[in-house]
Symmetry: C2
């Protein structure tokens, strides 16, 4: 029988083997006294199994305060693997999450616990269609090949009217942008209803497409209650929009899966709230595990932060996230990594050097709008930055060769 494998980075005052056994018990059939009905046969079929325990460093101070009786060190760190039979939860993502990421964080025996990665059995491919578009589908819809899609976020995040947003989209269309998105803070504000924004923005985008043949992908943030999201999705389809944005953590798995199943629009998955789940080195979940869940749910684009970002995350972590997205999963399930946060093009050479890919949606905000030659200069600068990157040039070399990028370097290079 196939098994789901979860890898954890743990810290415990117990021997790691003992702590791993507690986790496996709690997440299959544990309680504090033996109960009737818990036969050996039943255990063999449904009990979680400790597959491996690899000892790592030992520390004196716990990463997270332990429960009563577990506060005395030393604290042992280890990499462990736990597996469950596919018979336990079947092809049910929420119950899979409750199994690999549920009450285990409550266990006193752990002073640190992070879900690092998941191994999902091949048979999941028969039950989850996955991203309907992925990298190829997003390239096809935008007509962009051989370089990253260049995108931007409507700023200010919140407060612009549909007319103001449409005017900005008009400017960005003229500048040659490939992709635009709402901010995650904006879905329907008092002065910008979802429907009015869609009407105003799609008029600009459709007109521009009619004239030039280039259709900008605009990710409208439809995050809301289920029925509202389904209604908004229909609004998008009718208006000729080509992307729906959803805040993954805020909407949740069942809601996102329902949208993914519609398979008419690419799903732009925003991971806001991610820092809460990931920022502590020994609590929560790492991106390789996280992105698999959302690929199963049918997300086509997912945020990965960016090199030299304005947030707390290290470049190493960003690189790992991009690599995770680009690694085929169950033989496919293609998902487009969305690079953003303080990006202006200067990070392109380093991003390419470390990932060797142009299969990215590369987002800049101020880096486009505040370019000395205006937004058109900003978009050109970003394309040039990526050309320089692929040619193996440094930022300085690229700035010399490409004039628009050169102006970006002059303006933003010291940041």
């Amino acid at each position: 029988m196939e098994r789901i494998v979860a890898r954890y980075y743990i810290e415990t005052p117990l021997q790691p083997e003992a702590a791993a056994a507690i986790l496996a018990g709690e997440q299959s059939s544990g309680t504090f006294v033996a109960v009737p009905g818990e036969t050996e046969e039943l255990k063999a079929r449904f009990a979680a199994r400790v597959e491996s325990v690899k000892h790592l460093e030992t520390v004196d101070i716990p990463a997270i305060p332990g429960g009563a009786g577990f506060q005395k060190g030393p604290f042992h760190r280890a990499a462990i693997e736990i597996s469950w039979s596919i018979e336990n939860c079947g092809y049910n993502l929420p119950v899979l999450i409750s199994t690999v990421q549920g009450n285990l964080y409550e266990l006193s025996a752990f002073t640190g616990l992070k879900l690092m990665d998941l191994e999902i059995p091949a048979s999941f491919a028969q039950h989850f269609a996955g991203p309907a578009f992925g990298i190829e589908g997003c390239r096809r819809l935008t007509g962009v090949q051989g370089r990253p899609l260049i995108g931007t976020i409507i700023k200010p995040s919140i407060g612009m009217t549909p007319r103001q947003t449409a005017e900005l989209v008009q400017t960005l269309a003229g500048a040659g942008i490939d992709f635009i998105k709402d901010d995650e803070l904006l879905s329907a504000a008092a002065n910008s209803s979802f429907e009015d924004r869609v009407t105003a923005v799609m008029k600009v985008i459709n007109d521009h497409a009619d004239k030039t043949g280039k259709k900008i992908m605009y990710a409208f943030n439809l995050s809301a209650e289920m029925d509202t999201m389904l209604r908004r999705y229909e609004t998008l389809v009718k208006a000729g929009a080509t992307c729906a944005m959803v805040s993954l953590n805020s909407v949740g798995l069942s809601g996102v899966k329902k949208l993914g199943d519609l398979r008419t629009l690419p799903i732009h998955g925003h991971r806001n709230g991610w820092g809460m789940l990931n920022r502590h080195p020994l609590l929560g979940i790492e991106f390789p595990a996280y992105q698999k869940i959302w690929r199963l749910a049918g997300v086509d684009q997912i945020h990965v932060n960016g090199i030299q970002n304005k947030f707390w995350e290290s470049d190493d972590s960003v690189v790992r996230s991009i690599e995770a997205c680009l690694t085929p999963f169950l033989g496919g399930y293609s998902i487009l990594p969305v690079v953003s946060s303080g990006q202006w093009g200067g990070q392109a050479p380093e991003t390419y050097r470390r990932t060797r890919t142009v299969d990215l949606l590369y987002m800049a905000g101020g880096g486009i709008m505040a370019h000395p030659d205006g937004p058109a200069g900003g978009v050109t600068a970003l394309r040039e930055a990526w050309q320089a990157a692929v040619e193996g040039l440094s930022v300085e070399e690229g700035a010399k060769k490409f004039p628009a990028f050169g102006k970006s370097v002059q303006k933003f290079g010291s940041k």
Copy 2:
């Protein structure tokens, strides 16, 4: 205009006032350079506002590693209040979550950030019906007044067939139980389909109700994708079931809200995964904020852990959670706190002493099934424990006065 207020416990190497201003900017209209369209008028209407900053302790070692440029202490802790106009997100729970609990955790300026509580404007009451049953509704359905509802969880967590589960329910019915639930690990296992389990269990419960007039509330775990959950909800209604259980964090807000809106069955909200969101003292969310979101979504019962529990959580935290649930919200939105984890009755006196309430769903597992006189003795012991608690007796005094509870104390008292 009404404002939503969020209270945070923060840690930062900056002056707390400066860090609070960064948070407010990021969560309304911030980017790294000024952009066109960001007028003073727009800012006044949509910008988040720092309402208060209260300085607390200063420490040398950061709670969580800071981002580049923010690694040098000292680190100042503070309690801050940030507010947003209701015009920003309207009555949309997912966008509210993205606003108060989104990218702010990513900010390098913070080496600790926890959402402590939320103030929700009165007008939300016109848009969210809230729990359809709450405490009074659950008492009405079970016929239990003046004492906690006594409940248990089917154990082993996973692996029993519908017939075995039904036999256990029969035993528990004979023992006088008020409430039974699936484990969060079980929704549909290979040997226990949801539908077969409902049929087998509800036959026992309905027969028992016909004979005795007492209808046991069984919370079937319907957690799954949206369409499956809706189908299962219908199955429950048709079978005469009186409760639907859902894993809140695994299913997510939009899915849970959709179930709550159906208003035919009480929603039992399981918070597995909570430790990941809450366990670090300076990362995540505290229960007073968390439970408000789920009350708005229509959850009728929510887990709060238990006094002297087997998990890491302190008694103080459990008491605060129970108090949060029992505090009226928007003038009502009654929700029943679910006490569980290692409970056997011995914690009843302390639970009552600290909370002065019997408005609880009090769950025991081994404490019922492993009682020396069997499950009937276990249920009796729990009722006695609560009678002793309300009479102001200590565990020892209660054990002398009540024979079944006395046997529990003998067997479980040293744990």
